[in-house]
Subunit: 143 residues, 2 copies
DNA sequence: ATTAATTGTAAGGCATGCCTAACTATTTGT
DNA sequence: ACAAATAGTTAGGCATGCCTTACAATTAAT
């Protein structure tokens, strides 16, 4: 009962991102962001609150708990690292990189994730190697 | 209605793999392989048959159609390529590589997949670069 | 303060994908 | 050929996660 579904991880991630620019988030903002109904968001928020990942008080808005923040940051780190790897190392465009990171972040294990992170950093230090690779892919990387 | 769920892709993949060693596959073999009930397999096979990806005739066994084979091979290629990338380039052990490939193969887009494939081949030609990277990870790669 | 607009909740539905239990059909062994 | 074992199906359940519709609560505007 401790593990979050891909769906709940997404909610948490969005809440955390929205909280960076405003004090408290409203359910309707999430509904708009995810393009789903207010009712579905309401249900999901109840589940997150039950797991003590957020504090949800209806019209008063949503606040994240320390546990929730930790979990959200883990997902966000996966998201960012994967996006960077797809863009900077593989040379793919941002849209494709984001879309794929969004899905893979929920299924990748910590071991593989951290290894990709380290590898990405290693590649960052070896620009020549990556530039040579990217030369064959001018098409997709900058459309 | 054309897109396969991760679950149905898994069934198709296993059917294809089992067909390599025997003429026709039985539902019970899949149930054992996936560790799920015969009833669940039965349902899934009906769905695959309805989509014309397999020919299913109960006790007579399962046969794959050309369309089904094509789809299965796509998934299998993703699976193999990802596993190889995780093992040979990132230096992770086979179990972790397989587990992650198994999940990512269902959510990764073709663009990202083909780029990883090309990148993996590029790395294969530049052993030094990869060997230097792997030197820091003796632990996980060969336990 | 009262109405209107916005936001949130509850109820009932649908699809996926798994389960068990009970039943049917087929195959195998003697 | 017939009983036993094996394989497959059906029915009813459960959880997730989405939907719509209708209703309730809150906030904003006049």
């Amino acid at each position: 009962m401790n593990n979050l579904s891909a769906s709940l991880e997404d909610y948490l991630e969005i809440i955390c991102n929205l909280l960076e620019t405003s004090q408290s988030v409203k359910a309707v903002e999430i509904a708009k962001k995810l393009n789903i109904s207010r009712a579905s968001v309401s249900e999901a928020l109840m589940k997150l609150a039950e797991k003590d990942l957020i504090i949800y008080e209806g019209h008063k808005g949503i606040t994240i708990t320390p546990t929730g923040l930790k979990k959200a940051q883990e997902v966000i780190l996966k998201h960012k690292t994967l996006t960077t790897f797809f863009e900077n190392t593989l040379g793919l465009n941002n849209t494709i990189a984001e879309e794929n990171a969004c899905k893979i972040e929920h299924v990748i294990s910590d071991e593989v994730f951290f290894r990709i992170k380290t590898f990405q950093e290693y590649c960052e230090k070896n620009k020549n190697f990556i530039e040579d690779f990217k030369k064959g892919h001018k098409n997709t990387s900058h459309e």
